[in-house]
Symmetry: C3
Subunit: 269 residues, 3 copies
């Protein structure tokens, strides 16, 4: 049970008993997870949610998102391929989630690189996301540091953004999850470190986007935010480690990753 406290961080990973319990709860509840996400990651995100045991639903029309976000257990808003039309839908979904107290996750893809989506993301932050998940560049940008985003990939190390994550969490009230070789998750006070995973996860498109959706699913299953983001990160890291053993490259890895997400936690302890 690799619980270690050093400096101000707590390291958590699979198979911590709390995380096992949260995953079992998710599978019992099959949380309806409403995703407004990008066109690249939609299919993979839905498959990841199905593999882990949640119920994905991608409803994106501005006429429908408020009604649906209110009935969902958790909501993901990912601005990867945002347009004028989807920006309006995201705004409504975020407002409805906040009104209905539906927990929701914001994934500010490439917010450091482009001014237009910076304004959209700022508007969404006003609806107080439950969790913000991004790479180091994205979190640095939102925290007010100078973004260094080269497209959608991070060019800052996740370690460098640990302080930004804590600051952003303090300022927004959201739990902030920074994805990288090591994931950092903070509520502004505590910092949890999740290690593991495999670099191959960066060679499969939508892995980070799908992580945001899985955080929304854990929130939808009733996990508190810090715990939801931690459980999602730890399950992803462990599934990645298990999948790499069966993979020749990113194609076979993606299939094995979905297989492992469905199998993880079903073994006798």
């Amino acid at each position: 049970m690799p619980r270690q406290v050093y400096d101000m961080t707590i390291q958590l990973s699979w198979p911590h008993p709390d995380i096992r319990a949260d995953l079992a709860a998710l599978r019992r509840q099959v949380p309806l997870t409403h995703c407004l996400t990008n066109i690249v990651a939609s299919g993979f995100t839905a498959n990841v949610l199905l593999a882990i045991g949640a119920s994905p639903a991608m409803v994106i029309a501005k006429q429908e998102v408020a009604e649906f976000a209110a009935m969902a257990a958790g909501v993901l808003i990912n601005v990867g391929t945002v347009t004028s039309a989807t920006a309006r839908a995201m705004e409504r979904a975020a407002a409805a989630a906040a009104d209905a107290a539906t927990p929701w996750v914001l994934d500010p893809v490439a917010v450091g690189a482009l001014a237009w989506r910076r304004r959209i993301v700022t508007g969404l932050l006003a609806h107080r996301p439950t969790v913000i998940r991004g790479n180091a560049s994205e979190i640095l940008t939102l925290a007010g540091a100078e973004g260094s985003g080269k497209g959608v990939d991070s060019t800052a190390s996740s370690t460098a953004s640990l302080h930004a994550a804590r600051a952003l969490a303090s300022r927004t009230g959201a739990v902030v999850a920074v994805s990288g070789a090591t994931d950092y998750i903070s509520d502004g006070t505590e910092v949890i470190e999740v290690t593991g995973g495999d670099p191959m996860m960066t060679r499969v498109t939508g892995t980070g986007c799908a992580l945001g959706a899985v955080i929304a699913a854990f929130l939808g299953a009733g996990c508190p935010p810090l715990r939801a983001a931690t459980a999602a990160s730890a399950v992803f890291a462990h599934a990645g480690e298990r999948a790499i053993a069966q993979a020749r490259g990113p194609g076979s890895f993606a299939a094995a990753f979905l297989d492992e997400l469905s199998l993880i936690g079903t073994e006798p302890t």
Copy 2:
């Protein structure tokens, strides 16, 4: 040859000789299958159509869909991620298909859950779909029963909706296909039951959506509606059974399912 008549239903499944013949005809003709479908299932749907031997084409602009639906062999309209823009395109495609006597399939995803798309689906029904494919909740909703749709997954058993299917078929003139652990297909008089498949099919996103596309492909190859829906369901069920034998989880299952769709019927009898 598992043809059994009991009560009012006929059970059909692979390798019924009519279904084998219909699949062979589809492969000879490579029907151009025009799909207006959701952003989640688009890629998988195209891959399923290619695997089985059809020619997929996703053309979605409102300026193009009427022209294209008229030249296609079969059309699928799936409202999963419908928006204002795509709703207009779907309306035009349905009208053009009806005018050109191109057979078309309506997949009323989540129609039970959301009022806005209920109006869109009602508008589409006026253009007389050749086949309506949905899960039990969706068919119950369209038949006028109280929908019980939780998001996009069905919460009613397909058995419970058998009567709704027959009623909806009688009222609309469409063949109605209800997907579930057992599939029911009715033209308002006859009911065909397709058993088999595997629960893993519900863990791969877009399987139901792709089934609608394959029905459109069988229609495009000249199959009468009741037979097209039956052939598609039976081929899917059998491919699912063959795929599960090679799968560790949903990732390897999805790849094996595409493999089996391409191999099914190519073996010597």
Copy 3:
């Protein structure tokens, strides 16, 4: 080293040392490849770019594409599922790429079949694409010959379009790449022939679309246009040959193809 000159064509394929060198350069530079592509192929295209060693980014809002195309190393514009909204974004991206001297690839999907997109493609041609990639029907249409496009698949042989390719290249100044059983690539004077690959590549959706993206990535890594298109085609053909040895059908083939794209060129020579 299969370099053969016959008639006016040069045959190039993996492992030509120039192509190996270009692939190594691509992997060192990880070119940011901006894709405006169709909803069917988006996920697979991103995975192909990641597998080969490039950095994909799908940014599609009309408010963002000009800024992003100017900072990208290479741009792909694929009109497969173009709509009014994305047509405007494509126009802006092409103009910005031309202004910034960012090399860009045009993929005129199904241009032979539909009049509306013919006008859009004509507008894009005014911004002088660096490379035009298409199947034989699409290239014949753009060259002014009578198109014979049935949907998105080609009904003309790529051999038949060799002359059209050279003519279109001469007229537009673009390098033209015609995909088929044999690929032909011309700058209006020279013609390069790339053989190999496997028919299974036509059973996986988005393979041709992803090839356009990989050409953009090679351009982004600094390859001259004729060489970029040749390298991309040769790497694809070889990866396809390696993948088929491990595949039972199109599902396992797609995964193996991504694996091989990531492995090709990493072996000791």
